[in-house]
């Protein structure tokens, strides 16, 4: 483990009680959602992680609770290191604080997470869908969202299926 990362891991386990996950030389810290802003603030200001490279989520439905893991990745240009953060988030009306005050590019990452996973970000000024149409129903990257294919309509259930089909109606 790189010295800089090692110092982050030591400080963070003391201050935030974070767990560490290491796989193939990549280090991720595991923390709870109420600590995320404080943790990122400290990573940015004390440990020079200037870039928020990635903010995404993984859905573990139905095998695991809490359902979601949010994955952040921060890069330090000064020390040439990269660190991951993992944050379990409950699937029931998930709401977590926004990082937009620290990293401006969290804006679209969080919009994408809202769009694709239905995760709500507190303090986000513009939480609209980013790639799906604004009237879309559902959050496509959730594991309980089917990949596609059209439902077959028969005479007995035609109207019932037609009512929830996502095409433009008059």
């Amino acid at each position: 483990m790189d010295e800089h990362i090692q110092s982050v891991v030591t400080v963070f386990s003391e201050r935030f009680g974070t767990g560490v996950y290491e796989f193939r030389g990549e280090v991720s810290l595991i923390l709870t959602s109420d600590r995320i802003v404080a943790a990122c603030q400290s990573l940015r200001d004390e440990f020079d992680f200037e870039l928020l490279t990635e903010e995404t989520a993984v859905d573990y439905w139905p095998e695991q609770t809490p359902r979601f893991h949010l994955v952040y990745r921060l890069r330090s240009l000064k020390h040439n290191t990269i660190i991951g953060l993992r944050m379990p988030v409950d699937g029931n009306d998930p709401t977590i604080p926004s990082l937009i005050g620290l990293y401006a590019n969290a804006n679209w990452f969080e919009r994408e997470l809202w769009d694709m996973f239905g995760i709500h970000f507190e303090g986000h000024p513009d939480l609209r869908r980013v790639v799906m149409p604004e009237d879309w129903v559902g959050h496509p990257l959730r594991k309980d969202y089917p990949l596609g294919y059209e439902e077959v309509q028969y005479t007995f259930n035609f109207d019932e299926i037609d009512a929830r089909k996502p095409y433009a109606k008059e």
Partner: protein, 414 residues
């Protein structure tokens, strides 16, 4: 002639964006204007909602998603090998780069070794692809500021690169040539000569574009001082690639975190501290020259040997073995039907794409299909800077700013 009402956006979409425009727009003092998604200078299907005070841009609200194809969701339903064809379609000007990133993630996940010959060919193709991508950027950027002949010249050179890609893979754009553990197959014998010829002629061609544009007063006046991006803003917005390097940083993943053997090649990372569109133009022009340097060095040291890992649990055996080896036949069958099953875990692999940091987050649950794939694409992040760049500029400068951010909408929407 359309009336001014028709130019304005409909009340329904106004509701949706009213927290993003100024109060003067709500009072009707400024005009809201749609630019795109079918406007040719938006380089694809980007829609910009512009709030204008006369000719000045007050606010710019990018609207993306017109090219959303659900690649991340689709990849979850395919085996690792079969999902690779979708990576070509992300950033359609950096196809081999996307393949490379994806394969690097799988190689990290499965701890696969790549033979040296494959590494060198990967570098050559990645650099040729970088040149091709920058040529498209230069062509369209120059066209947007009304330098039409540059457009045709650039496409002539790009054609030569696409011919090389066709030579090695049979496809001009969607190559899927780089595979987990190496390459699809070895390059044909004429590869070396064709690439060498291209590398010999190309630097003179870049000089030609240089002569056409760099000191051209019209071109300079359109680019200089337009779209100032101070370094601290660039970092706060997570901007990477040539845009960050034109703002004074020398961050280049090929240097700071070398992959595929980039540490063996001598090259410089062009930077500038001017922070404007003209600086970004100079940086990208110099990058093309450096790419030629890297490709030349790689070609000179091209080793002989296999181009695919012989780890049969992950990499299909060569076709020639199938007729004689029972085991090869079994592996072939297993790998192309069920696919391989990497260990459980998640990896993050990144490369320097022509636009910035291209990374993939790949999570495996131990099954034959990726559990989660997330593409961290440079265009998606870089495009967010557009509202900052455009503040206070004229509408005519918007096309320069779109050109200088060098976005690919396939990369933004995924």
């Amino acid at each position: 002639m359309m009336s001014s009402d028709e130019w304005n956006i409909s009340p329904a979409s106004m509701d949706e964006v009213k927290h993003l425009v100024s109060e003067r727009a709500l009072a009707g003092e400024t005009v809201l204007l749609n630019m795109g998604p079918q406007h040719p200078s938006t380089h694809g299907v980007l829609r910009l909602l512009l709030e204008l005070d006369g000719e000045q841009v007050v606010n710019c609200i990018p609207d993306v998603g017109f090219l959303h194809t659900g690649i991340e969701k689709n990849m979850e339903s395919k085996t690792y090998i079969k999902a690779e064809v979708m990576t070509d379609r992300l950033d359609y000007l950096n196809n081999t780069g996307n393949n490379l990133t994806y394969c690097m993630a799988i190689e990290k996940l499965c701890e696969l070794d790549v033979p040296p010959r494959a590494q060198v060919i990967r570098v050559i193709l990645a650099e040729l692809q970088r040149i091709a991508s920058h040529l498209i950027w230069l062509a369209t950027h120059a066209l947007d500021v009304a330098a039409q002949s540059v457009f045709l010249y650039c496409f002539r050179e790009r054609e030569a690169i696409l011919d090389i890609l066709e030579l090695v893979s049979g496809q001009r754009m969607m190559t899927t040539y780089i595979r987990p553990g190496g390459l699809w197959r070895d390059v044909p014998v004429e590869f070396e000569e064709v690439v060498r010829n291209f590398l010999k002629t190309f630097p003179a061609r870049v000089d030609e574009y240089d002569a056409l544009l760099t000191k051209n007063p019209l071109f300079m006046s359109r680019l200089k001082g337009i779209g100032m991006l101070p370094p601290e803003v660039a970092l706060n917005y997570g901007v990477t690639g040539p845009m960050l390097r034109a703002s004074g940083s020398d961050h280049d993943l090929r240097k700071v975190q070398p992959y595929s053997g980039y540490e063996q090649y001598e090259f410089e990372v062009p930077t500038s501290t001017e922070c404007d569109s003209y600086a970004r133009y100079l940086v990208r022009m110099e990058e093309m020259r450096q790419s030629v340097r890297i490709a030349e060095q790689a070609l000179n040291k091209l080793p002989t040997g296999p181009v695919r890992s012989d780890n049969r649990k992950y990499v299909p055996p060569p076709r020639s073995e199938l007729g004689t080896s029972m085991e090869a036949l079994i592996h072939h069958f297993k790998l192309w039907t069920e696919g391989f099953t990497p260990p459980k875990g998640s990896v993050y692999a990144s490369t320097e794409s022509p636009r910035g940091e291209l990374s993939v987050y790949l999570e495996s649950d131990g099954g034959p299909k990726p559990y989660r794939v997330h593409w961290r694409t440079p265009s998606f992040t870089n495009l967010q800077i557009l509202p900052i760049l455009s503040k206070g500029h004229l509408v005519a400068d918007m096309v320069v700013l779109i050109g200088t951010t060098d976005i690919v909408l396939g990369d933004v929407d995924r």
